[in-house]
């Protein structure tokens, strides 16, 4: 356990914030307070948190339809996120985007995306821009196993390789795209292998282990900042819930499979490591939990109290 204890505690807290946020979304949805879709990230927290803990505030991410976790981890504001998901004017996008389109440019969240694979070009372009502007910023592209079959994935890896772009492709392999098992529609032994023909190094990590994800990302970030180019990280992970809030998540997945993943829960894992290494006490971690709980309650109350956007806003922001 070589990581500084602040980072471990920060990651623990960030994972809790994501978990609570998503549980809250579930309640908000089933309580009829939100419309549309939401794709929950519960079970995958260690990926977003491990990656973003290795980034600076001025680095960039592109997110996916399953994006709440990425946004919380990169510094999105719980209240503005909750308000967005509920379509309120105080949301990050003034209610125009909703769950699938949360963006906060001020902290480098270039947007969640409703198009599977929609972030590949944007993240790689952000990396190109960092290179052109002469900064040492990096861009992370989160994407799913399903997205790895979109042709643009291969196009951007070629760009990233020929121009040595500071981009990190983070695949969240949760073993399903909607209701289809990844293996049924995905060739090859691993998604990590896919970058090798482009000369882009890759690695596969346990996506339930925030520390492992952090370490792999830190290495990729260092490589990118030095100007050595891109990395692909495949994270082995699992969503506990259905594809979206309206899907019970069963039928196409066995109970045993779901339980086997829950048994290595990312939050519990990190908690155990923190306790075993005497980095913090159980009481201290419980206090973190209560604080997160409070923050979430406040965020929800504020979002609920916030108004919907005025209809006059409907044709604002179409053009700059």
């Amino acid at each position: 356990m070589s990581l500084p204890s602040e980072i471990l505690i920060k990651m623990y807290r960030a994972m809790l914030r994501i978990r609570r946020f998503e549980e809250q979304i579930w309640e908000v949805y089933t309580g009829g307070l939100m419309h549309g879709l939401a794709h929950l990230y519960i079970g995958e927290e260690a990926v977003a948190v491990g990656v973003c803990a290795a980034l600076r505030d001025d680095d960039f991410i592109t997110s996916t339809h399953r994006g709440h976790g990425h946004c919380v981890a990169k510094g999105g504001n719980l209240e503005a996120m909750m308000a967005e998901v509920m379509g309120r004017v105080t949301g990050h996008c003034r209610g125009k985007g909703g769950s699938m389109h949360i963006a906060d440019m001020s902290v480098g969240i270039l947007g969640a995306n409703g198009i599977v694979g929609g972030g590949f070009g944007i993240a790689t372009g952000a990396a190109l821009s960092a290179q052109k502007r002469g900064t040492d910023q990096v861009a992370v592209c989160f994407f799913g196993d399903g997205a790895s079959n979109q042709g643009i994935f291969f196009e951007v890896m070629n760009f990233a390789a020929i121009w040595k772009l500071p981009v990190i492709y983070v695949c969240e392999n949760n073993h399903y795209g909607e209701y289809t098992p990844t293996g049924n529609v995905t060739a090859g032994k691993s998604i990590a292998d896919r970058s090798l023909p482009f000369g882009i190094p890759s690695t596969t990590v346990d996506g339930s282990d925030a520390i492992a994800v952090y370490e792999a990302t830190a290495k990729a970030v260092e490589r990118a900042r030095k100007g050595d180019g891109a990395t692909l990280i495949e994270c082995d992970t699992y969503r506990y819930r259905g594809h979206h809030v309206g899907d019970p998540g069963e039928g196409y997945r066995t109970k045993e499979e779901i339980e086997s993943w829950m048994a290595k829960d990312p939050i519990q894992q990190l908690r155990t490591k923190i306790l075993d290494n005497n980095i913090a006490s159980g009481a201290e971690l419980d206090a973190e939990e209560r604080e997160v709980e409070k923050e979430m309650e406040n965020a929800l109350e504020a979002a609920k109290a916030a108004p919907y956007p005025d209809v006059a806003e409907v044709n604002q922001h179409v053009y700059a």
């Binding site: 209610g95 389109h101 399903g146 042709g151 049924n184 919907y308 409907v314």
Partner: protein
């Protein structure tokens, strides 16, 4: 004609199943069309009957998926390709526009490309800007493609079957808000609806409401309200955009002398503009009031409910447009 009551979704599934039974070269491919029966669940059961060989789950790769469909259609198969949300057709545009649409012409008439692309359209589900668009005008713009846009269960079944049997690439759009809509549907094996035949959904004398897809129901509701005000509205549904039944549209306006055109695509550069110009050109001498066009507001579809609602034409919008014409 024997009929059965079913939903729009069931009608689509029945059309597909009948065509697959009739013609062994027909198969379906798309994301989660198999056991899952699509994300809208409307094809549940199809995979049980036809198995992995003919109801095929594909990778998430729309460009490749449509490309394979084009190649298969070119060589003796009759694929039905499912593009879950109409918005995702954008990812496959090259295959549709530059390949499927042009192969017959470019080959001097040698090729046929009997692919059916089924997709969805329509806002109203709080699905935001990338899952709510109605972009059928894009495809209607391209010579070589046919575009069907059924508004009722019976039309969905009849047009779908015609699409599969047609030797041209056909794109058929289902409004996802209509899947649960019920109606009587003919059950004969050979029930089809020829392309290019508009349908008069309600007869009337004072005004013609030309409407497509879910907007037909908006127009019908408006017609009910107008009837209470003593205005008799005729509702005409073109059913296919390409080919378009100009005669029926023009005849109706010649009879009523006024028209409101309602389509959920963007108002600018779209279906309503095209139809208005056709009607003006042929019925100019008969028209008593400027034609009114209603379409989706020219903005990306917003997520927040009050904003989204403001972007879609409503029966009240139609009624107001008609009242402004001061018929009586």
């Amino acid at each position: 004609m024997s009929m059965r009551k079913m939903t729009y979704g069931e009608a689509v599934k029945e059309a597909m199943a009948e065509e697959m039974r009739r013609d062994p070269t027909v198969f379906l491919m798309g994301e989660d069309v198999g056991k899952a029966g699509t994300v809208f669940k409307v094809l549940l059961g199809l995979h049980d009957e036809f198995g992995d060989d003919r109801v095929i789950d594909t990778p998430i790769a729309e460009a490749g998926l449509v490309g394979l469909g084009v190649g298969a259609a070119l060589t003796g198969s009759r694929p039905i390709v499912d593009i879950m949300f109409g918005d995702f057709i954008a990812l496959a545009m090259d295959q549709i526009v530059n390949q499927a649409a042009k192969l017959r012409y470019m080959s001097g008439g040698q090729a046929i490309v009997p692919i059916t692309i089924r997709s969805t359209m329509g806002a109203g589900r709080s699905s935001a800007a990338q899952h709510s668009q109605s972009l059928h005008a894009w495809l209607a713009h391209i010579p070589g493609l046919k575009v069907a846009i059924p508004s009722t269960p019976a039309d969905a079944k009849g047009l779908f079957k015609t699409a599969v049997r047609d030797d041209n690439p056909v794109v058929i759009y289902e409004d996802k808000m209509m899947y649960a809509l019920k109606g009587m549907v003919p059950t004969e094996e050979d029930y089809t609806i020829p392309f290019g035949q508009a349908d008069i959904k309600r007869e009337g004398d004072d005004i013609t409401l030309i409407a497509t897809s879910s907007m037909v129901h908006v127009a019908l509701e408006a017609a009910d309200i107008l009837a209470e005000q003593g205005i008799s509205a005729e509702v005409v549904d073109p059913r296919t955009l390409v080919p378009l039944d100009r005669e029926t549209l023009i005849e109706s306006v010649v009879k009523t002398t006024r028209a409101v055109i309602i389509d959920e695509g963007y108002k600018s550069f779209g279906i309503t503009g095209e139809i208005a110009s056709i009607v003006y050109n042929s019925a100019f001498d008969y028209i008593d009031a400027p034609i009114v066009r209603l379409g989706a507001m020219d903005v990306p579809v917003p997520f927040s409910k009050p904003l989204e609602d403001a972007t879609i034409p409503t029966p009240e919008d139609v009624v107001k447009a008609v009242q402004d014409m001061k018929i009586r």
